[in-house]
Symmetry: C2
Subunit: 233 residues, 2 copies
């Protein structure tokens, strides 16, 4: 069976609005911890760095990038760009892309997204560790979770990945608790890991929900004509 979110967050959010106030919302999937909203920078625009490297899976980047770029709000929103070790063009599927920035000269980001791709040297992992240490939001899609795990950012945490890779990652990263059948997991307050490929769209919509609200996420999904069942109401 295809992975689905265990609980429709929209219903919980709307029930909670009158019960919980602004302090915290019920957990997705009944984990017991309150759902922490995310806060936009004072500028009203969150900058999103998409890390790209050889063999990157296109949809892992394109799905969340499109979602953030088209967030249905009257002003502000997200500003997206790509970052890599160098500006050397990268081929993925039938597309060649040129990274806009390197790890050295990229604008400061509020959110960093890593998808399935090669690259896990110290320059790459160091960027993720620095951004984490500075309280930035880290998102992985598909096997991109292996970068966060190798950087040591998921030790003692739950995480997820593409369904075909859960078992091998569990062996390779025994300090991480990999879980199945979830589109995404909040692995730490500022780290989310998504399952395979188009699960990145699910995660991006959830992030929109946490920065704004469920209605904005639903409007964004509708604009994109995205048919994931959690975003139809």
């Amino acid at each position: 069976m295809i992975r689905l979110r265990a609980v429709g967050l929209g219903g919980l959010l709307s029930i909670c609005a009158s019960v919980c106030g602004a302090e915290g919302l019920p957990a997705v999937g009944g984990q017991g911890a309150p759902v922490q909203k995310l806060t936009m920078p004072n500028s009203g625009v969150a900058r999103v760095a998409f890390v790209v490297s050889d063999m990157f899976t296109l949809i892992d980047i394109a799905g969340p990038m499109q979602t953030f770029d088209q967030v249905q709000v009257p002003s502000g929103g997200f500003e997206t760009f790509t970052v890599s070790e160098t500006r050397t063009p990268i081929r993925t599927a039938g597309m060649t892309i040129v990274p806009q920035y390197t790890f050295q000269d990229a604008p400061d980001a509020d959110i960093v997204v890593v998808g399935a791709q090669r690259g896990d040297d110290e320059q790459y992992l160091g960027y993720l560790r620095r951004m984490n240490a500075r309280g930035k939001l880290l998102l992985s899609v598909c096997t991109g979770v292996s970068k966060l795990a190798k950087a040591g950012l998921l030790d003692g945490r739950e995480a997820t990945s593409h369904h075909d890779y859960i078992d091998q990652f569990q062996k390779r990263f025994p300090r991480v608790q990999f879980v199945r059948d979830r589109a995404y997991v909040r692995s730490a307050p500022m780290i989310f890991t998504a399952a395979g490929e188009t699960s990145g769209i699910e995660l991006a919509l959830h992030i929109v929900e946490l920065y704004y609200d469920h209605d904005v996420a639903v409007k964004t999904a509708r604009y994109m004509e995205y048919r994931g069942p959690d975003w139809q109401r």
Copy 2:
């Protein structure tokens, strides 16, 4: 409401397998005409040209490209590439891409995909007309349908587009009959038009279904963890 396919084709295909033989399958949405399967080239690999130009909507290209690239078959499948007027890099959302070929030097394609983007001069439209005249399969996603309409390839045909653009396109192209609430329409035997953005994934999965069968399309959707409800069975 988000657009959904009027009829689940999978059920029809499987019911029909024992009723109709290989001659034809019932129409999607009860149009009365038999569903014509598509035939792979003798090589077993269908080449897919994705036209890209300024301001192209990333997901219109990335969704179908990822779907075709990952078709779940043991051998053969699809080979994808980008084509444009020149090889000048193109910026879209947070990504800069370099077209792999121009209309002059692109490998011969079996399938051409056009998404939302600028560009409708004679070089661009001429490519579409030539490919159509040679019996190639043309697919539009989102407002990409305007290229096919402007090229005169949809006169007297049904077509669809992003839900926000149906009305203005109906005025601009009165010879085309625009329809709402469908993820895609078979506008002609070798022309399909999809609705907005991620509807391109729906159309690509349907094309996989027509070249192979429903099971291959479902396996491909599952591999991508795509949650559109028509591909869960």
